[in-house]
Amino acid sequence: MPPVLGVSGLTKVFGAREQEALRLAGEGLGRDEILRRTGATLAVHDVSFAVERGELFVVMGLSGSGKSTLVRLLNRLIEPSAGTVEVEGRDLRALDDAQLRAVRNEKISMVFQHFALMPHRTVRENAAYALKVRGASAAEQRERADWALETVGLLERAGARPAELSGGMRQRVGLARALAADSEVLLMDEPFSALDPLIRRDMQDLLEQLQSELSKTIVFITHDLNEAMRLGDRILMLKDGRPVQLGTGPEIISAPADDYVADFTSDVDRTRVLTAGDLLREPRLTARLGDAPGDVLRALGVAEANGAYVLGEDGRVAGVARDDLLARALQEGRSALGPRELVPDYATIGADRPVVEFVHLVGRHAVPLGVVDDDGRLLGVVPRAAVLDALSAVPVRGRRS
């Protein structure tokens, strides 16, 4: 199956002498040089990516890096100079005007930085706009708009006009307008940038919650890497219209492709971005219930460790076998590890938890912090050194993961 949104070689040149600018761009010339030679602006050059259903894909970059242009190429509000955009396998550039309008109305919704609400209409009428354009009945418009407003927690203000609402509330209306359309793809151009930090956080929470319920395919533009890290499944870094790195947040943090990306990552709070899963190591040694205490003690000696996780039949953590207890078991002649040899001298954490939530647990026990899945099965461990390394390390530049 094709991805919900597929972009390939997408390029936009503003200005006359487009072909010449494209040729120069193809030769690798930078935006400034192309502007100087042709007077045309290379806003976006050769961007390719695919977004799967349910993914929240973030595009990041400094001001002028082409983010707004890119997102508008995705619904052809701006006509591409080259490249293709496919929505559920349909090439947008092959559509005539009427077909394009239908796709915009039914398949792709957009949320704007400054909300872009119609001031002369009520909140409900704004939320119902896509349905009105679609020619839906008044009852259906109302029903969908009210559902969407309820979803964003704004139903009781449905009769108000946008001017009466605070910024955060207005963007909730913007979100409701996009949700009411019930389209698969959501384009969001810096939707929370104009909001106060606290409100922004609320809106991010709301979006995460909506996304977990509705699983839209989202392209989210931001210039705030903390926001990108928090929301994004994957992040595309743009610089002067060109893609410089594509990866998950932790990938980008731990191996920024160049100085431009590294500058962004330097002010990211790593303890909130990196998760237990990112720092996960294969445990040096694990034992099973029923293993011989002597074998385990010998292995501990080789591994220079004081203890090991003991797993049950199902792979769940049964406890920890510590060297002193193993020695006593040997003296007392017990031949298989059982509950009496185990101590609860360990701590575990879910793979998706950020460092900030477990940093206090690291290095406190005979064994490293255990990382477990939802069923309590051991996935790996996080040694203290790995945490310290991840938080302090100046990232190795130029290394791509």
Binding site: G159, A160, A163, E164
Partner: protein, 307 residues
């Protein structure tokens, strides 16, 4: 020696040619205008003045408030006592017909100019030309085409009043928040829908300011129209000037000013957020769902109004 270019000859040849080729066009235009102005004048003049004064005052009250209503009553009573009611109504009819036609021409051109660069580029110098050409230059062809009387006055007035209507319409539409227009497009609206549902409503204050300008310019042409033989206050003033009658000249001029202030304040209300939001609010109350918030609304809207 620089050769003489017979530009004036060409223009008068063109006018002759037009008169020869499409005389029916001018006759038709002439007849329509005559009917419009005469019909409106009759409607304004036949009932007793009190009736119309009440209507004008009610309009003033609705759009602006009690002070303009009071002014309206006093001003028109003064006009009646000066025995200039009929002339004032003739002038009002001429101004309204000219303003409506000028607006009907100007707004669509303004819309086109806002939407198509090429139209804007062509229209702009034409408007400059129309605005800077001395009024009397229009009058000559107007008289040629339409003879003397009310029609050439109306036509010259229309030509004179169109430019600000076009300009303010174009400006108003261009100033509409680009993101809001994009939003409508992004949800699949057709170009016509974007125009009707976003651009025109949001440009309305500017367009209405244009209409106000159109009316004011039309009024400023009243005396000129009187010169061409249109009945009304212009004729009163022209007669006073030719007879060196300072007194009746002053009275006629005063009536023009009273009418101008009334029309200006009234139509300025359209482009003003006060009147606009009041209308909007009145409409919002009729919608049952809006009723809950209507009580809160005046405070928040009121705070934002410029003084």
């Amino acid at each position: 020696m620089i050769p003489h270019i017979p530009l004036g000859q060409w223009v008068s040849d063109l006018i002759d040619w037009l008169l020869d080729t499409v005389p029916w066009l001018f006759d038709a235009v002439s007849a329509v205008m005559q009917v419009l102005v005469n019909g409106l004048t009759d409607a304004l003049v036949s009932p007793p003045p009190v009736l119309w004064i009440v209507v004008f005052a009610a309009l003033a009250l609705l759009l602006r408030g009690p002070w303009l209503a009071l002014y309206t009553v006093l001003a028109f009573l003064l006009v009646v006592s000066l025995e200039l009611w009929v002339e004032t109504m003739q002038t009002l009819a001429l101004v309204l017909v000219a303003a409506v036609i000028a607006t009907a021409v100007a707004v669509p051109i303004g819309i086109l100019a806002a939407r198509h660069r090429a139209v804007s580029v062509i229209v702009r110098p034409v408007l400059d030309f129309m605005q800077t050409t001395p009024v009397f230059v229009y009058l000559i062809p107007a008289v040629f085409f339409f003879g003397v009387g009310v029609v050439p006055g109306v036509v010259a007035t229309i030509l004179f009043a169109i430019p600000p209507g076009v300009r303010l319409t174009e400006l108003g539409i261009r100033q509409v928040d680009r993101e809001v227009v994009e939003a409508a497009q992004a949800f699949g609206a057709r170009p016509g829908q974007v125009l009707r549902e976003v651009q025109l409503p949001l440009a309305l204050p500017s367009i209405m300011a244009g209409v106000n300008q159109v009316i004011m310019l039309a009024l400023s042409m009243v005396v000129t129209a009187g010169l061409l033989g249109a009945a009304g206050l212009g004729a009163v003033v022209v007669r006073a000037v030719t007879q060196l009658d300072v007194g009746s000249g002053f009275e006629g001029g005063l009536a023009v000013v009273l009418l101008a202030v009334f029309l200006d304040r009234l139509t300025a209300a359209f482009g003003h957020p006060t009147a606009l939001s009041r209308l909007v609010r009145a409409r919002g109350r009729r919608v049952p769902s809006g009723a809950a918030t209507a009580a809160r609304e005046p405070a928040s809207v009121g705070e934002r109004q410029p003084a």
